[in-house]
Symmetry: C2
Subunit: 200 residues, 2 copies
């Protein structure tokens, strides 16, 4: 513990606070995420977080950014495996849904309504969602016949692909689709492949 | 006002409280939905709501049920217009997304994480989601070649259709896709038609 405190002084306190916030989010939910609670969880004084976060919105934004980085990594890994464009889109979709299932609280924070009021103050939040959008777009465009589809079709197909995986992830983690755990993976595989196949 | 009070005594208080709760949800958000706040908004005593709702969960469940009934109506109307199975699926998708845009707070409550803990106590919540699921399924099955697709495929296609519209609705109302208001309708039209076209 003493060593950890020393590193705080060397500038790791911010990351330590974000890590504690992610843990709090998982264990207690979004409402519990206050600067005070995070200070307590990280074992620092109640004023310490204010050196790094001006208010609760700044903390939530930092937690969401961590989430977007994790999602980026998962998606990039899925896209790095060799295969045709249809395989890549299918794998991207599966990785996206699996991320939401592994980190439901983080996923809800990243894409939910709670962060809406903070989006103007923290442009990194829109940037996170935009990276997801771009990744979908590039992957979908690889599927389009060269010089064929006009731009608007590619954009609709990209939004459709994102909507499909975002909807499936949300319906599953918020228990609107009740599927036994041992069948969920097969369902995700089949639903995401359906879209990749259906595109012209 | 006096007449209204009289009708409460004749059994309309419950509906009056639910209506006040829906208004509160729209104006103040989910956190503001307490039995106390609803009593105040409806202009009745603070103990009056307890005659109809044992706790906050019961109130939230009643509000969500109202939402599911409204969504049912919209979807049934969309399906009642004559047309081929592809048109019907397309219209159902558009009606679904439009409902979410018209009633974003209600939509989030109906499908979001907040109600998760109450689903075991209030089976009507699962019943509402199940009606949506069934409506999607019947509409998608109409598109399948007769005696052709095995059951599992129809179920995947139904979940895919629901995921697509739920994802699009959620991404739009929670501002993850930023589309100018005058382009949103065209985007929704094109994204929902893409799915109806893509199915085998």
């Amino acid at each position: 513990m003493k060593d950890a405190r020393l590193t705080y002084h060397h500038g790791n306190l911010r990351q330590e606070l974000v890590d504690s916030a992610v843990e709090l989010l998982h264990s207690e939910g979004e409402e519990a995420l206050t600067l005070r609670a995070v200070a307590r969880a990280a074992g620092v004084s109640q004023t310490a977080p204010y050196r790094h976060f001006s208010d609760r919105g700044a903390l939530l934004a930092a937690v969401a950014e961590t989430g977007f980085s994790k999602l980026d990594e998962r998606c990039e890994h899925a896209l790095s495996i060799s295969g045709g464009p249809r395989d890549r889109l299918h794998r991207l979709g599966k990785a996206y849904v699996q991320f939401a299932r592994d980190e439901p609280a983080l996923y809800r924070l990243m894409f939910g309504a709670e962060l809406g009021p903070f989006k103007d103050a923290y442009p990194s939040l829109d940037a996170g969602a935009k990276r997801v959008h771009d990744m979908m777009r590039i992957t979908v465009e690889d599927l389009m016949p060269e010089g064929g589809a006009p731009n608007a079709d590619a954009e609709s197909a990209c939004i459709a692909a994102w909507s499909l995986v975002h909807g499936l992830a949300s319906l599953l983690i918020d228990r609107n689709i009740n599927v036994p755990a041992n069948r969920a993976t097969a369902l995700i595989d089949s639903v995401t492949s359906l879209f990749a196949k259906g595109l012209p």
